[in-house]
Symmetry: C2
DNA sequence: CGTGCGATGTATCGGTCCGATACATCGCGG
DNA sequence: CCGCGATGTATCGGACCGATACATCGCACG
C-alpha cells in the first residue's frame, strides 16, 4: 500500500522523505493519520533497489543563484523512473483482496484521477460488496446474538452498522456518477483550475482541465 | 490491544483459540474484521508466560460420561488467572495515546461494561478530542489546499469529514448519557436480561440489572 | 547578543499484527 | 466411502508503527 502511495505521489513531483510524508498526510488525511518514518524510509530504499525510484540532486534550476543557502543539508530527493510509472500502473490496475479494505481502498481512491474508468468502477463495486458483507454481519449480530452482548457492545455495533449503510449509499452515488461518465459529486464551480503539472494524459472522466 | 481483548473475553468464560477468535469477531465486528491466528496464538503464549492466563483441561464436568466422544482432540482451553484480572483492570484504566485511535478506542468501548464511569467518560472525551483534531485537519485541507487536489481526493476528504462530524455527534450523545448516569442510548425495552455470568460486580452506571 | 525551541530533515530498532500456509479431525451429504 | 466444509492448532515472512536518536535552520524572547 505504501509502495503504491509513494509511486503515485512521486508521479506528481520529485520529493524528499519529509515532504512525501506531509503530502501523504494531506492526501490520505481522511484514511490514516500519517505514515511513520519507520515505514517510509525502508520502503524508499526498497523502491530504489527495485529501480522504481532514484535519488536526485535537489535544487533543479537556480542552483547557481543560491549556492549555499538552503541546499547545504542532507536532503535526498527521490524521482520516479519509467519503470516506476509502469509499476504504478500495474499496481493501480490489479485488484487483490487488500484493495477493498479500509486503507487499501482509500489509497486506490486517492489516485482515481490516474485510474481509468473501468478500474474505478471495478474497485468501487468491490468495495461496496465488502461493506455490504460487513453490514450483513453486523445485522446478524444485532439480530440473533443481541441478548449475549451488553448495551455498550450493542451500541458499538449499531454505530458501525450505520457507518456501513452510509458508506454503501456514498458508493452507490459514486458508482452512478461513474457510469454516467461524470466526475465525482459536487461539481465545485469556479474553484477548479489549480496548478496541474501532469505529465501523463488525464484519464477519461477527469473534467478538471482548466480553460486557458 | 489484542492482549486487552483476550483478557476481557476470557473474563466472561474460558475458551480455546478458535472460539476466542469468533467471539472477538462478534464483539469487535464494527471495528475490525477478525483477528489473525498469526497474532492470536503468539499472544496467547505471551499471556500464558506472563501468568495472566493458564491452559486448562476441557470437558469440566460429565467427563466420565462421554470418555472419547468429543475430547480426543488437541483443544487447548485458556482460563484467566487472578493476576490476569488485575492486569485487565490496569490496562482498562490506564489510557495511553493508542487508547484513542480507531482500534484502541473500539476495544476499550467494547469492554465499557467492565469499566467504571469515570474512566468511560475520560476515554469518550479523549476520543472526541482526537476526532475533532482530525476533523479540523480535514477542514483545513478542504479549505486551504483544495486547488492542489483533484476532485476524487477532495471527495474522499469530504466523506471523511462527514464521518468525523457524525462520530463527534455520537460521542457527544454518549458523553451526555454517561454524565446523567444512564446506560447507553436506546434503552432496549424488554430484550434486556439475557445470560449474564458476571463474576465481578457490575460497575456503576450499568443499569441493565433486570427487576426480578 | 545568544540561546533555546519548534520546524525541518534522515535514519534505525523492537514490537505488533497480518496473510498465507500447513496439517489434522469431525460430521454430513452425495 | 469419499470428499468437503467447519473446527482446530500452529508457524513464517513481511508490513507497518512508535519511540528514539541526531543534526540543521530560523526566529522569538530575554
Amino acid at each position: 500500500m505504501l509502495e503504491l502511495a509513494i509511486l503515485g505521489l512521486l508521479q506528481e513531483a520529485p520529493m524528499h522523505g519529509y515532504e512525501l510524508r506531509k503530502e501523504l498526510a494531506a492526501k490520505l488525511g481522511a484514511i490514516r493519520a500519517a505514515i511513520s518514518y519507520g515505514s517510509l524510509y525502508p520502503t524508499l530504499r526498497r523502491l530504489q533497489a527495485a529501480g522504481w525510484i532514484s535519488e536526485a540532486a535537489e535544487t533543479p534550476a537556480t542552483a547557481e543563484e543560491v549556492p549555499a543557502l538552503t541546499s547545504r543539508r542532507g536532503r535526498v530527493v527521490y524521482t520516479i523512473t519509467a519503470e516506476g510509472k509502469e509499476r504504478f500502473a500495474q499496481l493501480i490496475a490489479q485488484a487483490g483482496p487488500e484493495t477493498y479494505d479500509d486503507t487499501g481502498f482509500g489509497v486506490h481512491f486517492a489516485f482515481f484521477a490516474r485510474t481509468d474508468q473501468a478500474t474505478r468502477l471495478r474497485i468501487l463495486e468491490g468495495r461496496r460488496r465488502k461493506i455490504e458483507e460487513r453490514r450483513e454481519g453486523l445485522r446478524d449480530v444485532l439480530g440473533r446474538a443481541a441478548e449475549r452482548l451488553d448495551a455498550y457492545t450493542l451500541e458499538l455495533q449499531r454505530h458501525g452498522l450505520e457507518a456501513c449503510e452510509r458508506e454503501v449509499r456514498w458508493l452507490e452515488e459514486l458508482i452512478a456518477n461513474e457510469r454516467s461518465g461524470r466526475a465525482p459529486t459536487v461539481p465545485q464551480p469556479g474553484t477548479a483550475g489549480g496548478r496541474r503539472d501532469n505529465d501523463s494524459p488525464p484519464p477519461p472522466g477527469e473534467s478538471r482541465k482548466e480553460r486557458p
